[in-house]
Chain length 190, copies 2
Amino acid sequence: MSHSSYGRLMAVDREHVLRSAAALLARSPAATMDEVAKAAGIGRATLHRHFAGRDALVRALESLGIQEIEAALDASDIETGPAEDALRRFVAAVEPAAGLLAFLVTENQLFEGDVHEGWNRTDARICGLFRRGQESGEFRIDLPAAWLSEALSGLISACAWSIQDGRVAARDFTRMTVELLLGGVRRSAQ
Amino acid sequence: MSHSSYGRLMAVDREHVLRSAAALLARSPAATMDEVAKAAGIGRATLHRHFAGRDALVRALESLGIQEIEAALDASDIETGPAEDALRRFVAAVEPAAGLLAFLVTENQLFEGDVHEGWNRTDARICGLFRRGQESGEFRIDLPAAWLSEALSGLISACAWSIQDGRVAARDFTRMTVELLLGGVRRSAQ
DNA sequence: ACTCGATGAGACACTCATGTCTCATTCGAG
DNA sequence: CTCGAATGAGACATGAGTGTCTCATCGAGT
């Protein structure tokens, strides 16, 4: 921390602010800039010094979300091994970012047409996972991979909300999400 | 239309306004009262004459949504027959209200804790459906019925959004939603 | 101890949606 | 045709959130 004029020194603070903002906005998407600042333990002025405005903050959260999801994709080594196992690993890895993902899903709903380019990238990888499973015979082929990707996002968001509202236990996140997506509700002969 | 002082005469107009508002707000939840009025083909003043304010409008939409879902529950005779068939009938019956349902899901996300009482009623019936399926041996019992109900809402919303964004075909709504929920993505021996 | 950058608090103006009001117009009933 | 209720258009005040600014304070490095 010798030369404080270098922007990267702010990275830790910026990171912390983004984490707080993500946690707050995932719960109350309509939260005020003032509330976001308070939640991060800083003043509103400082918040504006880091992020030009609310749009910039949301954009930064988008980037953070993309980054987390891509990190989960990488960490779970999604392109390797049986698709089912890869999906399990990915959902488990993406759990910490589930709230943020849920926020971005609804937010992207608002910004119709103005989607972050990175979003398409992660979506493509997830679609690729489902397509791989279909080609290998693990997954059924009568449902388009694009829909399966959307459904996965929907289920992750739904589970994150249910946990936030206390309707389901947090520790069951991965199991409930992935089990339902993989096996459905029908009791299979297996 | 003999005595125009009777409030029920406004029912048709009110209905039309609510339909338009539902269609618009399902796409852009942040739409202005002015946009809602324009979408309904009326002036903003008239809109305010029918609904005291934005809150009142949203409440009315909530009631309309509950009403539609309950109508779908009734029409699909959800308490009768095999749970799987009942679920299929319900999803097919609720399709016209899918956009409105998606709007209310995100809206309820905002109004945390302030849920419409009718919402719990419909949720209870849907939970009952899943529980019935579990008790009859049709559905798996390792996933709580409450979560299955949430997941159903999430899938319906996700499918409604995907259709709105043109990512999937509208005619596949029922099949994709119910097939995924019932069977999951795993290719079953069946 | 000094200095400089960053911060927090607050004041301020601006924007925008909302809610209320008025007024001219229209439409239907009598 | 006349009357009255409902409507549409617009003006207006209000409130909330935002973005920008200033200034006093704090803290780390020198």
